[in-house]
């Protein structure tokens, strides 16, 4: 049976386990209809021109894992940013793992989507924010239809959250191929500040497909710092849909580090619904083998005096393919917009390829919008310089590549993440040069 049909018929089984009388369920029912009409995206769609899901969708994924799998902290510790104290929301095969997690209701809510959806005290927030900015395309609708579990974070006014929040999705895949659909909601009220780290980690060789939707609301003067670490196994694929709605003077930053996974697709959408706000998205992609990473970004400038910055670096080895499709839309009212977009790529092997499409759609005249994109190789003369000073070729190459991606790392605010990323980069490049890159 086709995956699409299977999912549609599973929806009935899903209905048995959720409260069908809640208003949320109307949203789900509408979403499954949407998915039925739209289906999975194909290469015929402009936004998916360079990414085919065929290879990923051919597996017979189980939609509801039957067993709960327990994990020991010591076995998975390495996937945590364990050097610092964090709030933790941990899922194993889509189920909440209470003994790995550390949630809170003290002033702030760092807990589960399932309880947020069912408990009356969260109703107002859910009514105001749930599924308000997620798009109605096939893939997001599919997530909405099956939305039940995920992280729920609500930071009320004037709170500086001291500890970062880690969200990790483990998959043990004990039962074979597995489809996970986490649904996250992050609401940050006026003047508050939060840092979030998200990771998807497969612990199996069985195919795993994650279709995640995260809605983030940064209200007035809020600061949201979001880090996505994608360093999964070669059998795991991820479709990440993140939607960020910003109010005036807020700052939202998303860093995406893509180092692994069979297929990774990042749909990152910023909607600027307020004046004088700032959106930043940065990414480093270093992949090899037959991996495929697709960054699809959208910044929608709706109001005046806003800024957006995009900076994506990519290094592609072996038969890896990279895609960057960045879109900046500036509406008529969004005068004095300052939008900047850069995408730099290095191809290392003959079989690697990169498709990039930095797009501008501008309807306002008093704006400063620019984009730049380059594809090239490492500078031969710089290589020569390093080698003439006794640095072996591999290390010299690694140094240059590190320098190439460094300005993305520069804006990472949590030092432990920076260290972790540099270690991953060093291991990706297969070097150990005696100091932390």
């Amino acid at each position: 049976m086709e995956l699409k049909d299977k999912l549609i018929s599973s929806f009935m089984a899903f209905e048995n386990n959720v409260d069908v009388d809640s208003p949320i369920h109307d949203i789900r029912t509408e979403a499954i209809k949407n998915f039925e009409d739209e289906g999975f995206p194909t290469k015929r769609q402009e936004a998916w021109k360079y990414t085919s899901l065929d290879a990923v969708l051919k597996h017979d994924y189980s939609v509801f894992p039957k067993h709960e799998s327990a994990l020991e902290y010591k076995d998975v510790k390495k996937y945590f940013i364990h050097e610092i104290d964090c709030y933790k929301i941990i899922f194993v095969d889509g189920k909440y793992s209470s003994h790995l997690s550390q949630t809170t209701h003290d002033d702030i809510d760092v807990c589960l989507m399932s309880s947020a959806l069912s408990k009356p005290k969260y109703r107002l927030i859910i009514e105001n924010y749930f599924n308000k900015i997620a798009t109605k395309d096939g893939i997001s609708s599919l997530n909405t239809a099956f939305s039940a579990e995920g992280a729920y974070i609500h930071i009320p006014k004037n709170k500086l959250v001291q500890k970062p929040i880690q969200i990790i999705h483990f998959s043990t895949g004990r039962e074979g191929a597995l489809l996970l659909q986490p649904r996250n909601l992050v609401v940050v009220d006026e003047n508050s500040h939060v840092q979030i780290i998200e990771r998807h980690q497969s612990l199996t060789d069985n195919p795993i497909l994650t279709n995640s939707v995260t809605e983030i609301f940064a209200n007035k003067r809020a600061i949201v710092d979001y880090y996505k670490i994608q360093n999964d196994t070669s059998s795991a694929s991820l479709i990440d849909n993140t939607f960020i709605n910003q109010k005036q003077e807020s700052i939202a930053k998303v860093h995406t580090f893509s180092f692994g996974g069979k297929l990774t697709r990042n749909n990152l959408n910023f909607y600027q619904n307020g004046e004088r706000l700032d959106s930043t998205m940065k990414g480093i992609t270093i992949i090899g083998d037959k991996q495929h990473v697709d960054h699809n970004t959208l910044v929608h400038h709706i109001e005046p005096n806003c800024e957006s910055h995009q900076d994506y670096k990519g290094i592609y080895n072996d038969s890896a393919t990279g895609v960057f499709n960045g879109k900046v839309v500036v509406e008529k009212e969004a005068q004095k917009t300052n939008a900047f977009q850069a995408n730099n790529n290095i191809l290392i092997s003959d079989k690697a390829s990169i498709n990039t499409k930095p797009q501008l759609e501008i309807f306002a005249d008093d704006v400063k919008c620019s984009h730049g994109c380059t594809i090239g190789q490492l500078d031969e003369s710089a290589m020569f310089y390093l080698r003439s000073r006794g640095i072996p070729e591999k290390e010299a190459r690694a140094l240059l590549m590190f320098a190439f991606s460094n300005n993305v790392l520069d804006s990472v605010k949590i030092p432990e993440i920076k260290t972790r990323i540099t270690k991953i980069i060093a291991s990706k490049l297969g070097v150990n040069i005696g100091f932390d890159l």
Binding site: L347, S353, P358, E361, D365, V367, H371, G372, G376
Partner: protein, 482 residues
């Protein structure tokens, strides 16, 4: 003198009427509306074409019937009814002329109004004109001089008669019949166009030029141009268009094929000023053109275009860089005003080693127009050391227009070096202030800035054409081009 501001300019742009809108009353021979196999056959018969050409057209027609119009461009318009168009129209005075005296005086007057008096052109510019009015060549000059060099420059229908071997060998090799909807349509029904062949090692001594005009109400214009530069030759080809005012939309679906064999160079310049519709967005020409060039070893093709007209433009002059060390260039200025929509750009397909391409695109949007750049740079896995530089700049005048950029970059070889940059801006108040401060009034300042903005492209136009280009630019941006 009252201050001339950007607002004034905008106002002036809005109300500026199409100056060259007039209609010459030449009795034309027109086919009934509609398109079917019989019409295709009839066109072919009318032109006394050989059997293979008729078959070629029919093949294209068969493919066309199964195709649908593309809807991916960033333009919105009422789809033309292809059965409501007459597919053939030719001026009645059929015989060819050797000298100007024989030409229909009314036609000559038309050219006079356009400012392209043949006498003047002949004497002053040394340009040989293959003048096309409604699809059939009526005057070809300088033919004899060209003939001495062995250069063939004639209408394509004449070429089909006189040089069938060349036409048969090259037609459809760069733009195949089934390439796209409009190319297929053109292949089936093309009425006329120009044919040019430069023999081995010959440097064409003058700029070759063709004027296109749409002249007959309700007549689609389907031009077909084929330029072949044999090994080591050089040619510079100019194409310019103006069209009279019309209320109903007119369709123009041309195909241009360029073939540059080893070491050859083709420079193809276009000034396009089809009727853009009036200030309310009524009327205007639909311009759906397929232009493509093929470069063999060490060859070079350079496209330069100044686009000021058409209600809807859909045009992507492209280069297939097949041979090693071949070079492709694209320089474009696209000006849109009122309700004009332009979706234009280029494709650079790098197939050979050490191939180089340059793209410079300048878009100026005013009024309620939409101006899009859409380009593709593709590096095939076997193309080593390919190099591309692209730059797309947009200038916006007023907050009701839009500027869009859709660059596609596909690199499949690690040795490729690609740079792309794009900017969008308006004329800065500080720039105007700087000029004012130095005693340059605002009108001149705007002229200066717009001129400077498009200079990189204007510079690429041949001398003889630059004047014409300026003149045509003025229609869209009067008061801003000094």
């Amino acid at each position: 003198m009252s201050k001339y501001t950007e607002d004034d300019l905008r106002e002036e742009l809005k109300t500026k009427e199409y100056e060259y809108g007039f209609y010459t009353d030449i009795e034309s021979e027109t086919f009934p509306n509609g398109l079917n196999e019989d019409i295709v056959r009839a066109i072919s018969k009318k032109k006394e074409e050989p059997e293979w050409m008729t078959e070629w057209r029919l093949e294209a027609f068969k493919v066309w019937k199964q195709m649908t119009e593309p809807d991916w461009p960033n333009v919105h318009y009422e789809k033309p009814d292809f059965q409501a168009i007459s597919y053939y129209s030719a001026p009645n005075s059929k015989p060819k002329y050797e000298s100007l005296d024989e030409v229909d005086p009314e036609l000559l007057a038309t050219f006079e109004k356009l400012g392209i008096s043949l006498d003047e052109q002949k004497k002053l510019t040394g340009v040989a004109m293959d003048v096309v009015v409604d699809s059939v060549s009526v005057a070809t000059t300088f033919k004899k001089t060209l003939a001495e060099k062995g250069i063939i420059f004639m209408s394509i229908s004449e070429a089909i008669q006189k040089h069938p071997e060349l036409v048969k060998k090259y037609i459809g090799t760069v733009v195949p019949q089934k390439d796209n909807f409009y190319a297929a349509l053109n292949s089936a029904v093309f009425s006329d166009g120009s044919f040019c062949y430069i023999p081995k090692g010959v440097r064409c001594p003058m700029e070759l030029s063709t004027y296109f005009r749409i002249n007959q109400a309700g007549t689609g214009q389907f031009e077909r141009t084929l330029v072949i530069a044999d090994q080591g030759s050089y040619v510079s080809y100019l194409e310019g268009c103006t069209a009279p005012s019309r209320d109903e939309n007119q369709l123009h679906a041309a195909v241009v094929e360029l073939i540059a064999l080893d070491d050859a160079e083709i420079k193809y310049s276009t000034v396009q000023n089809w009727y853009p519709g009036n200030a309310e967005g009524k009327g205007g020409v639909y311009n759906f053109v397929t232009k493509r060039g093929l470069c063999e070893k060490n060859a070079k093709i350079s496209w330069t275009q100044v686009e000021t007209g058409s209600a809807v433009t859909w045009k992507y002059p492209s280069c297939v860089l097949k041979g090693d060390n071949s070079v492709g260039e694209f320089y474009s200025i696209a000006v849109t005003n009122n309700f004009q929509q332009a979706d234009t750009g280029t494709k650079m397909i790098h197939l050979g080693n050490n191939t180089k391409s340059t793209i410079i695109s300048k878009g100026i949007s005013a009024g309620k127009s939409q101006n899009s750049y859409r380009g593709l740079v593709q590096i095939s896995p076997r193309a080593k050391n390919a190099r591309n530089f692209s730059q797309c700049d947009s200038l916006l005048m007023g907050n009701e227009c839009g500027a869009h950029t859709f660059p596609y970059i596909e690199a499949n070889n690690k040795s490729a070096q690609i740079e792309h940059e794009a900017t969008t801006s308006k004329i800065g108040e500080d720039q105007i202030f700087y000029c004012n401060q130095r005693g340059i009034d605002t009108e001149k300042a705007i002229a200066l800035i717009v001129n400077g903005f498009s200079k990189e492209v204007l510079n690429k136009l041949p001398m003889e054409f630059a004047v014409e280009a300026q003149k045509l630019l003025e229609i869209s941006l009067e008061g801003s081009v000094g």
